[in-house]
Subunit: 262 residues, 2 copies
Amino acid sequence: MKRSIEDTSIVFIGAGNLATNLAHAFYRKGFRVVQIYSRTEDSARTLAQAVEADYTTSLENVVPDAQLYIVSLKDDALVELLPQIVAGKGKGLWVHTAGSIPMDIWKGHVERYGVFYPLQTFSKSRLVDFHEIPVFVEGSSDEEVHFLKQIASALSRKVLEANSEQRRNLHLAAVFTCNFTNHMYALAEHLLQKHGLPFDAMLPLIDETARKVHELSPRLAQTGPAVRYDMGVIGKHLDMLADEPEMQQLYRLLSDDIHRLV
Amino acid sequence: MKRSIEDTSIVFIGAGNLATNLAHAFYRKGFRVVQIYSRTEDSARTLAQAVEADYTTSLENVVPDAQLYIVSLKDDALVELLPQIVAGKGKGLWVHTAGSIPMDIWKGHVERYGVFYPLQTFSKSRLVDFHEIPVFVEGSSDEEVHFLKQIASALSRKVLEANSEQRRNLHLAAVFTCNFTNHMYALAEHLLQKHGLPFDAMLPLIDETARKVHELSPRLAQTGPAVRYDMGVIGKHLDMLADEPEMQQLYRLLSDDIHRLV
């Protein structure tokens, strides 16, 4: 009897933002998510209930016979707990989801291993569609790569291979495009709130700034006082930030840096 | 005979990114764009041809009998050239499009004046749809405000009043949400190119980061190593940027600042 890829039994180690989104995505595609582990009972139970899985808060109680173990913990925790995590469960395929941890971290601990890295920002409160999310896989052998590609292709139409060196650069670039970008939104919100203005007014601008780089290189898409070296406006803006020293310093550095890249 | 708002005759002083987008938008809505002034003949002619207007490179030859003059120049140029720009054309309604220039700059030069500020990023090579763009207007009298709102409503469904103080804060916030955000994209592109990786891999992340803040406040939307204080990842990333001192400094400051705002 031919078994389909969706019969793969999956255990999640971790129930954070990424694990929550990924477990939901697998569940919706008909995969068998059999168990969720989290140190925090509430997180484990919430995710387990949503995807009809069991849960545990004890690593010793993680089932030993799953086909795929997806470990999605804070990097430090993964590194520290790894021997405990895999103990007695060496038959399965083990993957982590971290941009900045090399695949070789598994070496010597389990036989079949790899990385399953969906490049996206994940929050528990917002479940995303995986269809357009690039998933970068890496595996300890061609067989694992092939299997991870099949699994990933069930969720996304953008499945790619990346080695650990490439993945850590993708991750670093993602911190700039996502986390630092989001911080720019947060600083704008802070400023607008202070002056009783609605953050909503920024949304069409945020959307267009994002859309624009689908067509134009970011360097060509740049506008505003820094790129046209409008020192009058830059000076006024720095004055307006006199009572926000962190924002003022960032404004100055970012304006200089925009100019450096022109 | 009742005249419609689209009969308004408009002259553009300036043919840059904003003027180009705005002139096209008015033209498409059936307004009479009668003349384009630009110091650069090529810019003046290109825009004039596109919107079936005359053009000139000499301020003296700007027609004196238009109903609406839209001045869209670099801030320094507007301030410096203002007396020359308006000379002999005091009958029309004069507006500028600058976020950081107060309306009062017109005072004593012309009788009817105001500001027409579409909050968006504009490039000549990408004509945008004005329908969702917030347009903030300000006028020297209720009559001018009413008229500018009518004009703006022909283009956008989001027409709002803002005084000069509010507008300069909107502009400053926009520099963060747009120009500095775009610079984050540019830095990511730089990094990826250096390692032979495609910037396209970032687009789904860029889109989701933008979409997310339609639903969640940016502070709640934040993810990544800085907000979860993942010092292991932060340390690795700083090491990876050892040969990019500007990016390394920005990485450090932005990570600290994300933490400050949590």
